[in-house]
Symmetry: D2
Subunit: 287 residues, 4 copies
């Protein structure tokens, strides 16, 4: 009976890197959490305990800090820094592919009565930018951009009705419910040069605008509408994947207390929650 | 040998309440997490299992939802809603005091290309507003306002030097370090009428501005300076308490990699962290 | 330009279900967290907002509670309950496949001086049992068992040495380090009848025993050794996948304080951490 | 108008310290999370940015590691190690009091078919031991022991009935509910020599046994009964404080699905939760 090694990968996660790009009057803060993972010929490390081809995860961490010194500027997109990191590792003989995932924590200058502070910042809300870059040893590059934890709510324009009925389908139809979710979105870019920072800002604006403006029949429907809007308006994007939790807001029955509740007072819940995932993409005809 | 009941209190925590105040063109979202705790004559509940004077925590939850219907409007300060809730419970015979603590999660209308959405919102960053209200059966009211999780960073204007030295005091003096913290602040209001919403906004502005503008010699010093600024500019405030974690940012030694690190690349840490707490208050001479 | 729906699935997550199986002298607690996800023909729900074929996630929750009444007994393996849930949904016309993932939280009777309590329990440590069951509309069933959060440490018998060297590979070789990890393991069963409860206990025993007894050259090596041991001893298992974080324990340099540290005092860290994933499986020759 | 410094303290939190006490055949793992806080004359640090009397929190961390080398053995109670740490800081001129809080994470040797492993461990469940020690500059010592996160459930012997009724008190009386909680308990020891390890084990055994054996009329009542049992059986203990969350288990109405639910299937919730805190202590007559 043979036993063999199947799929495997390894790397360093949660590398917490802050770089200050210092200016005359103001600094720029780059605050990243980086995960690096390698695939390649690491069979001997597993089966023979032979580390002679193992890039230590500690070395990955060192490399992230070392490359940040030169390759991470005030405006360097995390997609570009991910490619720099990925290229470093993809060039190593035994590595067949590298995945670098970077989250950027956004700091905004403090506004004061005398202007905008140059050296003081607050952590901004509004979701966390994410880039996921894969590089293969043969030079192929796959870039996905995205956003995590973009927490949004529709207080109108959201329905859920018309489901098939049986005894267990007790949820009442509604043409007006709260839709609240924490958007995790990833979109893939086709080839060609791109201003990643501008593109990110534009895609997120479309995401929010389409979230605000559509009439939602379900979370599934909302993913389609938002994904469709992104593909419509942003030619560089080839597909969009979203993963949306649906933590429910239940209208509270206040009638026992002699109080009317005209779609106004809700109980927000965390568990259980719906979880809806879908990809919207350009069709085969787009070539 | 006698055994007796000492200090005791009980209540309901994490009451998650969302109220929509619907308008013609736009809604306002009030999203609160409420904790209620009662003190009073509950000895028999403990020692005899006699619940005849116990307000069920389920009833506290019901009361929060019921009172929100009428007493929580688009602009009702959480301090005021806390007082409404507190009064309800303080009026019960066996209750001697009530503490109501309310966190408000801030939702901002989505900005779209055609203006500001009326029915779509994003969860804002910038800290969570907090009110802590205590009411006694005798009518005394104590109101504290505050903010949690206001995450801020100074990239300049922060030193830490001049500590006494012994063998274990190995931390090098620095006249330039990153100061990053997650502000938890509480301030107490003296008596008198107050526009709590305006006051909150003003105090937080002072907090941020003084954070940005002072030269910090230590976290202790920063608490003093910020608390002092708040008391200076806001006569309604009688004391300010802050609790500031100090998760460190260490300058990475890049010299082994042949790279210079001119106060630029830092490793951000979570553990261990300094924790500094202090109250700044008006002195006795102020009456 | 066409835009189309790609991969999609949806379901209910974090269904928190506790069932008491009451006995004459003692109860049994089954405490489950259930995630259900469906794939199938849900295109119209996305693209047309047509819910006429959508199983509401609320219905999934209802179904879990309803089926637990009859189909979850004191000894029912979570793998078997997962199959019951999965069959229910796989039988629906528009569903092509179902994934049910169940975590079981283990409660042990309290030991008292007069024996074992029949109605009082403590939450046990030692990891959380997990079953992941996939059923296809054509009747195919795939069962994986596993454990999460099995936190373990080797204080001896763990080395990490012999990596290739360059300027960034600064981690010193060591023939004696702490290896601490939180095991996430999944193993797949081949066909045939199986006593899932007994098998789970036996596999976890092998996992722990092989963890304890091998000399580790790296986390990669440890996965191989433990996976190999499981496949060796448990014919029903066809493959094992592990995902092991490696949060580091650094030997503290106490020499500045005039104290010797003979591999004794360590600083435990959470970030960054290595993350090693691999599958060990029976080879094609076993077919 | 004067502004002055009020109460203040500072220190280092989450010092993660692992010590291996190596033996011939087996090691002992001491895994601690330590928080240290000082009070004293630190006015100048706040008001003048003068650090000449500030013990750096980095130094506190160094001290914890340095003292662990000599003062933390295989059997040293965390109460005793807390006193060692506390004495070090209380002896510093400007310090008036020190609080050291230590949590110990429990590792148990892995059981294998050939016996008990000497160098491999699993993190145990069953709550986290805690010691909180306060030392004053005048030599006074206050020692509290405790346990956190001891998660327990009663499936029988728990009622909640007889509350006063009004419109908002809608919770039905029950003579049989699930009582599930995560015990946080602290008990204070009077003076005199004590085997802290044995005492801890004995108090926790009483806590669990009394939890299992009493008929609970409410969480308040349970605290009293358990606290009373501890004081009855353990003369060294002078008071017990508990803080018990009450996350609810709701019986699910299965009748819409044609299924009977005979007090068997429950929905476990996290929010909102009751929170009950009380101290049980020896009375004044005990001197």
């Amino acid at each position: 009976m043979t036993i063999e090694l199947g799929a495997n990968r390894y790397g360093k996660s949660a590398i917490r890197l802050v770089k200050l790009v210092r200016g005359a009057d103001r600094d720029v803060v780059r605050d990243l959490t980086i995960d690096i993972a390698l695939e390649g010929d690491f069979v001997a490390a597993h089966t023979a305990g032979d580390n002679s081809r193992v890039i230590a995860t500690d070395t990955m961490k060192n490399t992230a800090y070392a490359l940040a010194a030169d390759s991470l500027g005030a405006d360097t997109p995390i997609e570009a820094f991910g490619v720099v990191l990925g290229r470093h590792f993809a060039a190593i003989e035994q590595v067949t592919s590298v995945e670098v995932s970077i989250a950027e924590h956004d700091w905004r200058p403090v506004a004061t009565s005398s202007g905008v502070a140059g050296h003081a910042f607050t952590r901004a809300g509004g979701g966390t930018r994410r880039a996921v870059v894969r590089l293969a040893a043969d030079g192929a590059v796959d870039v996905r951009a995205g956003i995590d934890d973009l927490t949004v709510m529709k207080t109108s324009g959201s329905a859920f009705a018309g489901i098939p009925r049986d005894a267990k389908a007790t949820l009442a139809d509604t043409d007006d419910r709260i839709l609240a979710t924490r958007i995790e979105a990833r979109w893939r870019y086709g080839g060609g040069e791109l201003d990643h920072n501008a593109e990110y800002v534009a895609v997120v604006a479309t995401l929010l605008e389409s979230f605000a403006e559509h009439e939602s029949a379900s979370v599934q429907h909302s993913i389609w509408v938002m994904g469709h809007a992104i593909l419509d308006r942003h030619p560089a994007v080839t597909e969009v994947t979203m993963r949306l939790p649906n933590p429910h807001h239940w209208l509270v029955d206040l009638s026992p207390f002699g109080v009317e509740n005209d779609r106004s007072v809700f109980l927000a819940t965390r568990e259980p929650y719906g979880l809806i995932e879908a990809t919207v993409r350009r069709g085969a005809a787009d070539g």
